[in-house]
Every structure is written in structure tokens, then in C-alpha cells.
């Protein structure tokens, strides 16, 4: 009987372990590179950014009202950190059947309208979002580059105030990137925020 209980416990642990693997990256994991189509029609990989020290990867979209509130903050992040070696790379993983406003054509038009000066990539197969474990938009993964490997240093929200960036008390992404640039430990490595769920393809 005891043995049986032990086995059940072991099984439960194993099942929860596999489930957590499915959920994408945790802080400290090594992230994969990808090759996705940018709004200018060219394919982009993180390895193309030869001099980058890391990346601010943002799963984002056109249609989500929370994303819309963060547009100018994302443009400002790239402005501030591109020259310091941490460019913004935005990825739209929404399925265009579920969310027609997030089609590739709409992405191009949105990026032009808002004058995005960073990559805005189309994750049509949704594989990158699944591998990273992105759940909502905007959802940030700060990666730090060590040699050829990309280590996940921060996962979560841009700051603690979606409604009004000027009232944000905790600028999570800026704090994480500043820490990496100064060789310090990232103060807060994981946060959550209210956002639009990524619009997955029908199974």
C-alpha cells in the first residue's frame, strides 16, 4: 500500500514536471534563436544582431488594447536601449483567423503608421510563442547574450501601470536591462500583468 502511494506521488511529480516543461521558458533557461519575417519582408534572426549584448523580445500585437497603451513605451525602450546593445524585437504570434487585425498586412500598416524603428516579426506558425511560453500581449522576455547563447534574464510586464506609464512605479524591463548592463543581478526576474491572451489557432 505504502509503495502504491509512493508510486502515485512519483507519477504526480512526473506529470507536473512534464507540464511545466510545456509551459515554455523560466528565468535562467537558454532561449532558442528563430527566423521570422519582418514587416519589410526580410527574414530576421537574433544572430543577425552581431553587436547586441542581449534583447528585449516582446510578444505583442496590433489588436490588444493593452498593447496599444504600450506602443509609445516600446518605441521609447528601443530608443533608449538599442545603442546600449539591447534592441527591441517585437513578435506578433496571434492567429489571423482568430484575430484578423493581426494579419501580416495589418502588421505592416500598423508599424508604418506608428513608425516602428525595430523589428516587428510575424510568428505565423506560433512556434516561437509556444517555445518561449508567451501567454499574453504585451509579454516581455529579456535575453542576455553570453557568447553564442541567449539566457532568459527576465519574463513579464514592461512596468506596473498599463493605464499610464508616467505613473509607473516599477519599470521592470528597464530595471532588468540596466542591471544586466551594469553587471548586477536583475532585481525582479518575473512579473505578471493583465493582458490579452495570445489568439491561438484552433486545435
Amino acid at each position: 500500500m505504502k509503495k502504491a502511494i509512493q508510486n502515485v506521488c512519483l507519477l504526480v511529480i512526473l506529470i507536473s514536471a512534464t507540464q511545466s516543461i510545456k509551459k515554455g521558458y523560466g528565468v535562467g533557461d537558454i532561449a532558442i534563436d528563430f527566423k521570422l519575417k519582418n514587416i519589410d519582408g526580410k527574414m530576421v534572426s537574433l544572430s543577425d544582431y552581431k553587436s547586441a549584448k542581449g534583447f528585449i523580445v516582446i510578444f505583442d500585437c496590433n489588436s490588444c488594447p493593452v498593447s496599444k497603451l504600450y506602443n509609445t513605451r516600446i518605441i521609447a525602450l528601443n530608443k533608449k536601449y538599442l545603442s546600449l546593445g539591447f534592441p527591441v524585437v517585437a513578435i506578433n504570434s496571434n492567429d489571423e483567423q482568430q484575430s484578423p487585425d493581426d494579419s501580416y498586412a495589418e502588421m505592416v500598416s500598423e508599424a508604418n503608421k506608428k513608425k516602428y524603428d525595430f523589428a516587428y516579426l510575424h510568428d505565423q506558425s506560433q512556434e516561437v510563442a509556444q517555445t518561449y511560453g508567451a501567454t499574453n500581449t504585451p509579454h516581455v522576455f529579456v535575453l542576455s547574450k553570453n557568447g553564442l547563447s541567449l539566457k532568459v534574464a527576465y519574463i513579464g510586464a514592461i512596468d506596473d501601470n498599463s493605464r499610464d506609464g508616467s505613473k509607473a512605479e516599477k519599470k521592470y524591463v528597464e530595471n532588468a536591462v540596466d542591471a544586466l548592463l551594469n553587471g548586477n543581478q536583475v532585481p525582479v526576474t518575473k512579473t505578471k500583468a493583465i493582458g490579452c491572451g495570445i489568439k491561438w489557432k484552433d486545435a
Binding site: 499574453n136 506596473d160 493605464r163 500583468a193
Partner: protein, 159 residues
Amino acid sequence: MNRFALSVFLYLSAITIGFSQNPRVVKISEIESLIVTKSDKIQVINFWATWCAPCVKEMPILEKANLENGNIKVTLVSLDLDIDPSPEKVFKFVERKKITSRVLILDEHDPNSWIDKIDNQWSGALPATLLVNTKTGNRKFIERELREGELDDLIKQLN
């Protein structure tokens, strides 16, 4: 008239007209208390916003269940104030859609500080639905749009 005065006016007019369900603006502690306070009914707590299309789409499932299933109590927790300074849109939505379930409007800042208090599986994406049998403490958490028939199955599992 400024925005605040306008919302107060709308709110008061809603009371005067006599809606049975005037959405109240609440703090997270009220939602936490719903989850733990012993009740004969299974608490179905849905997190939504007027701007969230899949939330609006699934709402009839929750409304129907609340009317037809005497064993449950549905609470629709609006997160509109996370991005909007005024609850006006929620008031109008509830009026237009003739929502009969209880609607609460959550007013909190820094979602990272309270999302785990609802459920630590929750990423913060909307819609999300928590079902709790407050007597046994058993719970189910769904972070996506509910499918037709799914709610009944989940309720059965908690009975």
C-alpha cells in the same frame, strides 16, 4: 462636466432607474473573500473586460449557467480599470447587454502584486475563470475562452 462628475451622475442615474445589479468598484480583498467564504453555492468567478472580445463572446455561457443552475453563483469581475480611468464603459455594457449576473469592477494597481492571489497558474491573460467549491476548497482554473458545455462539466467535477 468632468469625467468623475459624469461617472457619479451616470452611477446615480442607474440607481434611480432601479437596476438590480449596479456594478460596484471593489478591491482585491473582496474577491479573495469570495474565494474563501463558505457558501452553499459553487463560486464561478470570471475575469473579463469590455475590450476583451473572447470575454464578451463567452459571457452568455456564464449568464445562462447563473440563471439555470441553482448550485452556482457567477461573479463577473471587470478589469477595465486596469487600462481605463473610468468605470463608465462597464456601466454601459452591463446596461446594454442586460447582464443579470453580479458584476464587480476591480480597482487595483500593480497587477503583479495580486494576480497570484487569485490563482498562481494565472498569467494575467483574459479571459480567465475560477471555479471554487468553498466548502471543500476544491477549485478549477481556466485561462481561455470557455467552450459550450465545458462549464457544466467543471461544475460537476467540483460537486
